[in-house]
């Protein structure tokens, strides 16, 4: 099967040039049977091709059997694999065996089918006439007449009262599916404006749920994610209340200002000793956690869309699509010496929304 019949019958065709031999086009008005010729021109060639196709199909058969054998033979899952074996390795091994067998079976079937159609079937082209897409004018006219007649018989054109009341009747029915969607969820009301932080609520580490003292952050340049104590299982609360604590050398932190209730206030007393500051971890762009912190530049980076905030200057935006600084959480040290919130955030955290104002 070194050459295909087309290649033998004509000169070699260079890719990109039109086929040199005129196509044998069998012009027919209505589709008719292609000239029947079950015998390919090159008998030896066909014999070879037949053997290759059959070999590929036998390969596909064997690979298919291999798939079943691999399914039966290679156990996965902790409860079935031998003691001490690694369940993940077992799953990957099973995947490799099953996938290899299935790949071979399918590709062998595909290649075999392609050789079959290209090398064993005679290359016959037929021609079919297209018919105009538009109907004959008489048919169109007849349809229009039937339609108009039917409409007239139904009286819908004649009796506007019926027509209009019917439309009126369907209106609330058409709206009712939308009405039914109302109970998909509660109304947002003011829930996007507040978080669970309140005065005296301790900040604990996200990982170990450990409360922190200012001394735990004495190494300048560290950033740590904290959550309100007791809310570790409340994903809805955490999605708004996640906070990053960042510590600075004395003097590194520019005293940020915030607008609270229309008045610009210094937020120096929101920090601890002007060295530890807390910002919302929820990006003001579309809500990803701002998780990357570069100590040397004090830049906080959101890995989703690369909004960049300057932690030393009130988390102001220095690059990217975020429209405003990360909200700052007022901090205090509680009577036991642990870091806690001095109040909730003074502005909504996270992405913008219409009612935000």
């Amino acid at each position: 099967m070194s050459e295909s019949p087309e290649e033998i019958s004509g000169p070699r065709r260079v890719i990109g040039t039109p086929s040199p031999a005129p196509k044998a086009v069998d012009v027919i008005d209505e589709p008719k049977e292609p000239a029947f010729s079950a015998e390919p021109t090159m008998v030896d060639h066909a014999k070879n091709a037949e053997r290759v196709v059959a070999a590929l199909f036998i390969l596909a058969f064997l690979a298919g059997c291999g798939f079943i054998a691999a399914y039966v033979g290679l156990e996965v899952g902790q409860s079935t694999i031998p003691k001490g074996a690694n369940a993940v390795v077992a799953a990957f091994r099973s995947n490799l065996a099953l996938g290899s067998c299935l790949s071979i079976a399918l590709l062998a079937l595909g290649i075999g089918s392609m050789i079959w159609v290209r090398h064993l079937t005679p290359n016959i082209e037929i021609e079919e006439q297209r018919h105009d897409m538009n109907s004959a004018p008489a048919d169109r006219a007849a349809f229009q007449r039937s339609f108009a007649e039917g409409a007239a018989i139904s009286q819908i054109t004649k009796r506007p009262l019926i027509r209009r009341t019917m439309l009126l009747a369907t209106l609330p029915l058409a709206l009712s599916p939308l009405v039914l969607l109302r109970d998909l969820g509660p109304l947002p009301q003011t829930s996007l404006r507040t978080t669970v932080w309140r005065k005296g609520l301790r900040a604990v580490t996200l990982g170990g749920l450990r409360p922190l003292t200012p001394g735990d952050l004495s190494v300048a340049g560290s950033m740590i994610t904290v959550i309100p104590e007791g809310y570790q299982d409340d994903q809805d609360a955490l999605a708004k209340a996640g906070v990053i604590l960042i510590s600075f050398e004395p003097g590194q932190l520019n005293v940020p200002t915030r607008v609270v209730g229309g008045v610009t206030v210094s937020t120096q007393n929101w920090t601890l000793d002007n060295t530890i500051v807390a910002y919302s971890k929820i990006c003001t762009h579309v809500g990803c956690p701002v998780a990357l912190y570069e100590q040397t530049t004090h830049h906080i980076l959101c890995p989703c869309h690369q909004s960049t905030f300057d932690a030393s200057a009130g988390a102001s935006v220095i690059f990217g699509p975020a429209p405003r600084p990360l909200p700052q959480l007022p901090l205090m040290v509680d009577t036991d010496g642990y870091i806690a919130a001095a109040s909730d955030f003074t502005q909504p955290v996270g992405p913008s929304f219409w009612e935000r104002g």
């Binding site: 399918l106 089918s113 037929i126 956690p289």
Partner: protein
Amino acid sequence: MSDDAVKIPAPVSGVGGWLDDRFHGAKGVRVLMHKVFPDHWSFMLGEIALWSFVILLLTGTYLALFFVPSMSDVVYNGSYTKLDGITMSQAYQSTLNISFDVRGGLLIRQIHHWAADLFMVAIMAHMLRVFFTGAYRKPREINWLIGIVLFTMGMIEGLFGYSLPDDQLSGAGLRITEGVLQGVPIVGTYASYFLFGGAFPGDSIIPRMYILHVFLIPGLILGLITAHLFIMFHQKHTQMPAFGNTEKNVVGQPFFPYFLLKGQAWFFFIFGALVVLATFAEINPIWLYGPYTPLAISSASQPDFYMGILEGSLRMMPAWEINFLGHTLSLSVLIPAAVPLGIIFTGAGLWPFFEQWATGDKSFHNINDRPRNAPVRTGVGVAAVLFYGVLWAEGANDVLANAFDVPLYTITWISRFAVFILPIGGYYITKRICLGLQRKDAGLLTHGVEIGIIHQLPNGEFVEEERPLTEEERALVDSKHVYKALPTPVEADENGIPAPAARGPLGWARAYANQAFTETVEPTNGHGNGHGPNGHEAIEGGEHAAIGAGDDDSHEEH
């Protein structure tokens, strides 16, 4: 045997007869068997999407047998011991179980994911083929629109599908979806609360996406694919320009047995290729990402490739927010979420109608265009690809920055300019290339093909020998459909009233667009072996002579 009448096997007469007694199908089925399928490699692209969808249905059904669409918390204690003791949703746990505790589960999961990506790749490639060859023209505009709807549905279906496992990466995608939804004016927060059943993440989103992903959207896709195929079947396939192909016929191989065998081969190839990928190329290893928590994220978080354009748009947009009558209008979210895809989908949907309007061409087209023969269309197509491509690449700006050691912000700044400059430049350059290729074709038609023999004349002049094009070559090279320029609108009639076509910006736009669409290169006539100054000048001046070249009637239109 070939001379004998074909022997009818007993099952054909027996079973066939039994069925025909009941359905009267012999005549109709015979017509279907002879249905002609024109052959061209690019006609197989849509078929890739079709077979991918079939594979998606098969593998998806299997996965649904094991997947638990629930956000109830469970503590994991299973085969993937690294996550032992971790609280996670049942959705995530059951996806881990499919991967590690169901034989073949990982394979089917990965086939399903790869097939979804291939489905979208194939739709894109198929759309580009249809666009660049003008196969969307009358009477096939409706099928073009169905294709666009299928593409958007594929995007939503894919987004919901890869969000179902409730892993860290897909949860980040949902968080972004929620953030964008909140930014929608007036209804944003309500839409978000209704979709998520309250505050993000809530415990409703997975079961809700599940029913949309496994029932509603695939049902719509299946229905639209069926309509797409029936319309294609009814209108008959387009064909490439070739000798013997006309607007009135369709030349190719009959459905039975050729297309059946080829379709079978193609299905097995595609399925086989997907299984090779699923076996050897890991995709979406959700066990490495961990269960979703709203406060964790990994760097270089990226959606599947077909959502990359939205991600890139969000990354490219500079910060911009305005206060509109006391309300927040988050333009740095709204513009990237709606505008780029809006331009692409709306533009693609309107394009066939725009082209008809600009060219005044209302005729049927069954022979495809060569891209060079429609310079404006090809230029606009390249511009769209570049526009999409820049936004898409920007969606991986962090990966690009890392791979090429370029500052992250630099890439974003480059893309902010490139998204405007590249499409415009691409349009003009492509249009010039198309006209250049037309000029080459015009040369072929007037000069013929150089056959590589050079003669030296007694006076020392060198002349290369050429042969005229064969009929088959001419059928391809001379397949250009030349649009006639619309009559120049009369500025004002004798009463000083301008013609309707000249009025207003629409009239002006149409005249301008028509001028672009009718720019062409006509083959010049009668120079034969025309070397020497006249021949070349005529060819090179063709671009300028084009509009006025109507007097040259040697060119036969197809």
